[in-house]
């Protein structure tokens, strides 16, 4: 059950984009995680789709690291041939939450990027339709999944 396929994928990514990759590791069999600088996201995404055949998008999400003043946007990708899951991550500052939209690379990220915008307030530049998906049309309460949005059962809520 070794991790040869996963290691080969990481080698291919690292050799093509040495300075754009902040972190690349095999978490366990069939799980790869790479963290990419935000300005190189588009090129890395095209490389993953065309050369490494990561063609299926599972989802797009984000994590709010409020203590370190950053958001981390995560793209969950699957290779339908190798059956390996890759998490493509990028860090963006919390006070300037902009990241390029990857809708021209994988069109299936449409609804997922809309939901991430709605829940976190992260703007995906280049997305044709950043409008409400899950929350009511007249929602004025802020961005629910941010850590400073407290529920009634949390401390300070």
């Amino acid at each position: 059950m070794g991790e040869e396929t996963e290691k080969k994928i990481i080698e291919a990514i690292k050799s093509n984009f040495q300075d754009a990759i902040e972190e690349a590791e095999v978490l366990r069999p069939k799980r790869i995680s790479i963290t990419v600088r935000n300005n190189k996201m588009f090129e890395v995404a095209r490389f993953l789709r065309d050369r490494l055949k990561f063609d299926y998008v599972l989802s797009v999400g984000a994590v709010d690291y409020i203590k370190e003043n950053r958001f981390q946007v995560i793209y969950y990708l699957l290779s339908s041939k190798e059956k390996v899951v890759l998490m493509l991550r990028t860090n963006i500052p919390r006070d300037k939450p902009f990241t390029p939209s990857l809708i021209s690379v994988w069109e299936a990220v449409n609804y997922h990027e809309r939901e991430t915008w709605e829940m976190f307030g992260i703007t995906f530049k280049g997305h044709p339709n950043l409008t409400r998906l899950l929350l009511p049309e007249d929602w004025e309460g802020g961005y629910p999944l941010r850590k400073d949005f407290k529920l009634s059962s949390s401390e300070g809520g």
């Binding site: 009511p136 049309e137 309460g141 949005f149 529920l151 009634s152 059962s153 949390s154 809520g157």
Partner: protein, 157 residues
């Protein structure tokens, strides 16, 4: 008119009224038609009640498409803010006499989502006549809820 004739008229009118109310009550309570409308996750259990084993049509409960001709608005499952504005619209479109029923723990007091930011209670939106607790309530509990509503309908004519 003589006093004896007046009294006789009042007695006849009173007896007629009582018989009339009994007939109308019997007719109304055995033909409570809810509109086809589900709001949340208790719906498979409601479909089992409509199925062959717990047949609810033998009590006269037949779902129908149009809200204008419906007698009872059944809120089955979670009520969120986005759906609440539609529920208010539907309630105002129904013709008198109309009743409302809240099935499930969620419309009563938010259920397992007690601290959610987008779940509301049913009686903040419309006046509810019968509450059926459970998550989801057993089919026998839903039928008992309908029987309590039938008693209320008969007495309230």
């Amino acid at each position: 008119m003589t006093k004896k004739n007046q009294t006789r008229r009042l007695i006849v009118w009173d007896v007629f009224n009582q018989v009339y109310k009994k007939i109308i009550g019997w007719g109304r309570k055995y033909s409570l038609w809810p509109a086809h409308f589900i709001t949340g996750c208790c719906c498979p259990e409601f479909m089992q009640v409509a199925g062959p084993r717990y047949d609810m049509e033998r009590f006269g409960i037949l779902p129908l498409p149009s809200i204008r001709q419906a007698d009872v608005l059944v809120i089955i499952g979670v009520l969120t803010r986005k759906m609440a504005s539609r529920v208010k619209m539907l309630w105002e479109q129904m013709a008198e006499p109309k009743y409302a029923m809240a099935i499930g723990a969620c419309p009563i007091d938010k259920g397992p989502f007690y601290d959610s930011y987008s779940v509301v209670r049913a009686d903040e939106i419309i006046p509810v006549d019968v509450y059926v607790p459970g998550c989801p309530p057993r089919p026998e509990a839903m039928i008992q809820g309908f029987m309590i509503l039938q008693k209320k309908v008969e007495e309230g004519v």
